[in-house]
Amino acid sequence: QKEVEQDPGPLSVPEGAIVSLNCTYSNSAFQYFMWYRQYSRKGPELLMYTYSSGNKEDGRFTAQVDKSSKYISLFIRDSQPSDSATYLCAMRGMRFGAGTRLTVKP
């Protein structure tokens, strides 16, 4: 079993939709949870991070952690075509999910 599991998609939604991206993990010692965004042919960039359980909001983006279920989520509200990218969850710095490729259609 991989330490971090993420559905690679692809996921296609219409502009304005709410997007939900998810990861599960196996190591209960993980405390920091990150989401990176990677545009085509670019390196990933940190989008958000959370510590332990709970929610964190930044504009249209909300990161959610449920440590009891070992499940993390990233929600994107009012999705825009510019949100089209691959979203990778990451834990403990070097453990990345497979990435979910998102396309937001105008």
């Binding site: 920091y32 990933p44 490729r101």
Partner: protein
């Protein structure tokens, strides 16, 4: 300031040849990481350098892969006797602090194609 740079941006080589990939981290960043990303896949951790400590090589897939770092500057990833399955984008990242949360700044990657 300048971000992480990698060279070459693209490399095409023949099976069995050796290749060297270079990474210039952000100045002052003590931690440096190498990852491999196959087409449509996530990031596969390869190796991690932190200051003068022994590197974490736990992600290197075989003894054909090796990496060096000079102090807290340039790093070189070497792949010997390349195989077709080595074809991928090799990403380098650096960070300021080696903590559990440490924002990694990625370079644009080197796209390696082994014919």
């Amino acid at each position: 300031g300048a971000g992480v740079s990698q060279s070459p941006s693209n490399k095409v080589t023949e099976k069995g040849k050796d290749v060297e990939l270079r990474c210039d981290p952000i100045s002052g960043h003590t931690a440096l990481y190498w990852y491999r990303q196959r087409l449509g896949q996530g990031l596969e951790f390869l190796i991690y350098f932190q200051g003068n400590s022994a590197p974490d090589k736990s992600g290197l897939p075989s003894d054909r892969f090796s990496a060096e770092r000079t102090g807290e500057s340039v790093s070189t990833l070497t792949i010997q006797r390349t195989q077709q399955e080595d074809s991928a984008v090799y990403l380098c990242a650096s960070s300021q602090l080696p903590s559990s949360y440490n924002e990694q700044f990625f370079g644009p990657g080197t796209r390696l194609t082994v014919l």
